[in-house]
């Protein structure tokens, strides 16, 4: 029997209070003031949907081994590359086997659940990781800007150690064009909100949920937690009432602390439900976007064996306020800044080199000397240990999953970065190995010599002239 065997979640560090948006843009559109509750998660300047998907995938690893994974499905409507496998980049960053089947699901907001269904329908022998991630962008001052948040979720699907087994699923597909983006569109376009709600949300979502309940011969009150992503807080409650769900059985929509994370959101909410679920609970999750997918799970005893069931809270708690709307615009590429001539210098990237050095650049895989046991990055022929110096005695050694300690650091005001000052330092990895890295998702004031750190996959540069998003790893304070 197939089901979910592990999960991971990723919410970016920055949170933008909706009140901050209203302060900046309320003059233009006073109507959004009514939505200005809570805050939204905002991807850092060095993140995109791909890096967040990798972070969510990494978060699964304490509960599943990377060698167990046969396939990686990525779902997003904001993939950085249209051509060049985003899932292949993610599989590399996750250091999955080259023998991994990768696929991408995109085009609408239900593609996260569609990827999950596809994984659940794969053969029993196959373990699939499904990562859904989005960084959708609303125009300044609009409703979508208030409602969307950035984030990612990952679930591993298999038939061994199932924590939530699939009972059944039910899908519908409509060309209901509530949101749309052409290839060339940076921002979400949408139709009138009243029509989206009344003609779409309140018709399509009940059709999918009721369709699944009928297929399973169940009533809504048989379900311990109903999970569905809302267009707004008010609509979320209204939907529960119209479906006859008791308030305590409705999964919190996470709009106030996060925002709607697009394709990831049904899975983010599903994970939130799993973190609090008891064995035997039935959880129904439904997505909405060009139709709907509804899936019904039953939680098993295995869930009590997970190493961590505190992942949502960990991600909600690790945050820093983005207290400046102009900075938000800048991070989102909506502000033409004077970056100076130093900032305008963009060195060319060699893709043949990136391919050759994929172990280092993509996977943060270095080497461990078979003679003296010293881990080292990057891998080279001659051992770095001056007492050893063995030649050609290296085996691969992964650093991306290692924690470390901050050996030294600085905050550089001269280097060009989208978020000055640029933080970087030297990291001593636990278990051996030392290297220097950029540091992200924190402020200088919080850094101390010797503090624990972990590694995070980031977009190091976006070379728009040559069409290359360049990725590598950075250090960040230990988040857990």
């Amino acid at each position: 029997m197939k089901g979910i065997t592990a999960y991971g979640i990723y919410l970016p560090y920055h949170r933008l209070k909706r009140e901050t948006i209203v302060k900046a843009m309320g003059w233009f559109n006073p109507g959004v003031a009514g939505l200005a509750k809570g805050e939204k998660a905002v991807a850092n300047f060095d993140e995109d949907s791909l890096t967040m998907a990798v972070a969510a995938g990494m978060d699964c690893f304490p509960d599943i081994g990377r060698e167990e994974i046969d396939a990686l499905y990525l779902a997003s409507t904001t993939f950085p590359y249209k051509e060049r496998g985003n899932a292949s980049i993610a599989a590399g960053a996750l250091n999955l086997s080259a023998n991994t089947r990768t696929a991408e699901f995109s085009g609408c907001l239900k593609s996260g659940t569609t990827a999950l269904i596809s994984a659940l329908n794969a053969s029993d022998s196959e373990t699939t990781m499904v990562c859904a991630s989005d960084t959708r962008l609303g125009k300044a001052g609009g409703t979508q800007e208030q409602m969307t948040g950035d984030g990612a979720a990952a679930v591993a699907v298999g038939s061994k150690g199932v924590i939530a087994s699939l009972i059944d699923h039910y899908s519908i597909s409509y060309d209901f064009p509530d949101h749309r983006r052409l290839d060339s569109d940076k921002f979400i376009r949408s139709w009138e909100e009243r029509w989206m709600r009344e003609a779409g949300y309140f018709k399509i979502l009940p059709e999918a949920i009721n369709g699944l309940l009928a297929k399973c011969g169940l009533q809504i009150n048989d379900i311990a937690k109903v999970v569905y992503a809302p267009p707004s807080l008010r609509d979320h409650k209204a939907m529960a009432q119209s479906l006859g769900i008791k308030p305590e059985r409705v999964q919190s929509p996470l709009i106030e602390p996060v925002g709607n994370t697009g394709t990831a959101h049904p899975l983010v909410m599903l994970i939130a439900a799993l973190e609090e679920a008891q064995p035997g609970d039935k959880i129904l999750v439904a997505s909405m976007g060009s139709g709907s997918d509804a899936l019904l799970f039953e939680v098993t005893e295995e869930i009590t064996k997970l190493k961590s069931r505190n992942k949502l809270k960990k991600n909600l708690d690790y945050k820093g306020e983005l207290d400046n709307y102009t900075k938000y615009l800048s991070f989102k590429g909506m502000l033409e800044k004077e970056i100076g001539i130093r900032g305008e210098e963009v060195s060319p990237t060699s893709l043949s080199l990136q391919w050759r050095e994929q172990n280092a650049v993509l996977k943060l895989v270095g080497a461990k000397c078979k003679v003296c046991g010293t881990p080292q990055f990057p891998a080279e022929t001659v051992c770095i240990n001056p007492e050893c110096g063995a030649v050609g005695q290296m085996e691969e050694y992964s650093f991306s999953d290692k924690t470390g300690h901050l050996f030294t650091f600085t905050a550089d005001h001269l280097a060009f970065t989208e978020d000055p000052p640029g933080l970087y330092g030297i990291i001593d990895f636990d278990g051996g190995g030392r290297y220097w890295f950029d540091i992200t998702d924190c402020r200088l004031e919080s850094l101390k010599v010797g503090q624990p750190v972990q590694m995070t996959f980031r977009r190091r540069y976006l070379d728009e002239a040559r069409g290359i998003a360049g990725y590598f790893w950075k250090a960040m304070p230990f988040k857990g």
Partner: protein, 400 residues
């Protein structure tokens, strides 16, 4: 056991241009000026030069690659010339190569000349570093600049010796203030003004904890040296300056890749200093060295160099700074010409500029900044970062 270079070669002439942001000077005119001063000082003519070594670093924004630009600028007539580049230690490399050439007997009179133009890039600081270590490191190095790399040394040093940022920065400020005071006395220096400690402490941050006055200027200029065998030197002048040690050491990069280096010193400086003292026969540097020109690209570099060169004990440089040990009237004056901090740092010329100051001090020609009766002077030239660098240490004396 190699004999070493001690007392085998001598400098018989040197030249150095005014350093600065020389918007209206070309590399060619700077090289020519330094060269003309050097041959006039040596009392020779261009035709007497047998071979030359040319140091420059940022070739993309300077003269380009190869030794052709030097031959072209000076119109040297079809002699062997080699361009050397070893980051900021390039100038010391040129002197070392020229010295080895005359010492071997391959030629009799050799020229070492360095020049750097850095201000034609359109922004402050050194040119973009992202490709400096090649296209592979560009993918995996952090977004570093020189101040940031040296700032990490300060972070670690302050932490190790329990200095608060305020205490640490005050010690560094005293070093910079001292160099500015010396630079104010030096006609050819780039930044000729005194700066007090409080101004330095309150300057804008460049790379925490280093502020604006913890950093040397980005400077243009040229310097040159004429080198012959020691036994020939007396034929050219009465007061030649003799080589006692010419050492280069290069880091195998274990500092930032292996958990051994303590991050509070420059290991390569220490190693190079040990070799230089051995070559020169210096047993107790604190007592025997009379002056130093060290690579004070940043104030913290000068602080740790005092310790790495075994002048100050580990962790105790602050005490020597506070006591004025390195001041112009101290036991071992350091940066009597203002150093990189105040005289300036045209990369490819700096190692030769350091030798220029030692040469002039040993000849007693430094006017109001003249050190009293020096016999042994040391230069320390650093290319790269604390954790992976090229170090040149040279020692010169005015007696055989």
């Amino acid at each position: 056991m190699a004999e070493g270079i001690k007392n085998k070669v001598a400098i018989i002439g040197m030249g150095c241009t005014r350093f600065g942001e020389l918007w209206d000077r070309s590399a060619e005119s700077l090289a020519s000026e330094a060269f003309e001063e050097a041959i006039a000082d040596a009392g020779i003519e261009k035709k007497d030069i047998d071979a030359a070594w040319f140091s420059s670093c940022f070739d993309e924004v300077n003269v380009g690659k190869s030794a052709i630009p030097l031959a072209g600028a000076l119109k040297l007539p079809f002699i062997p010339i080699t361009r050397v580049e070893n980051f900021c230690a390039s100038g010391t490399e040129a002197i070392r190569a020229a010295s080895y050439a005359v010492a071997s007997g391959a030629c009799d009179v050799a020229l070492a000349l360095g020049v750097e133009k850095l201000k034609d890039i359109g922004y402050g600081g050194l040119p973009d570093f992202s490709q400096l270590r090649g296209i592979y490191n560009r993918q995996i190095y952090p977004n570093v600049t020189a101040p940031g790399q040296f700032a990490m040394l300060a972070t670690r040093y302050f932490d190790r010796y329990g200095l608060s940022p305020e205490e640490g920065k005050r010690t560094l400020a005293k070093i910079s203030s001292k160099s500015h005071a010396n630079g104010a006395l030096t006609p050819k220096a780039h930044l000729r003004r005194k700066v007090d400690v409080e101004t330095i402490m309150n300057a804008p941050m460049i790379a925490w904890p280093l502020g604006l006055f913890d950093c040397c200027g980005v400077t243009e200029g040229s310097a040159a040296a004429i080198i012959v065998r020691a036994e020939d030197a007396g034929k050219f002048r009465k007061d030649p300056v003799y080589a006692k040690a010419l050492q280069i050491a290069v880091s195998p990069e274990e500092e930032y890749r292996y958990q051994q280096w303590d991050g509070t010193h420059v290991e390569t400086t220490y190693r190079c200093g040990v070799n230089a003292y051995k070559e020169a026969g210096v047993k107790n540097p604190r007592e025997e060295i009379n002056m130093m020109e060290v690579h004070d690209c940043f104030s913290i570099t000068e602080l740790v160099t005092y310790e790495d060169l075994q002048i100050s004990p580990r962790g105790k440089a602050k005490e020597d700074v506070d006591a004025g040990f390195y001041d112009l009237d101290g036991k071992i004056p350091c940066q009597s010409d203002g150093g990189l901090k105040s005289f300036g740092h045209p990369i490819g010329a700096s190692g030769i500029r350091m030798a220029y100051e030692v040469y002039k001090q040993l000849q007693g020609k430094c006017g109001e900044r003249q050190i009293r009766d020096p016999h042994l002077g040391l230069t320390h030239n650093l290319g790269g970062f604390p954790a992976n660098c090229v170090i040149g240490v040279t020692i010169w004396g005015n007696e055989l």
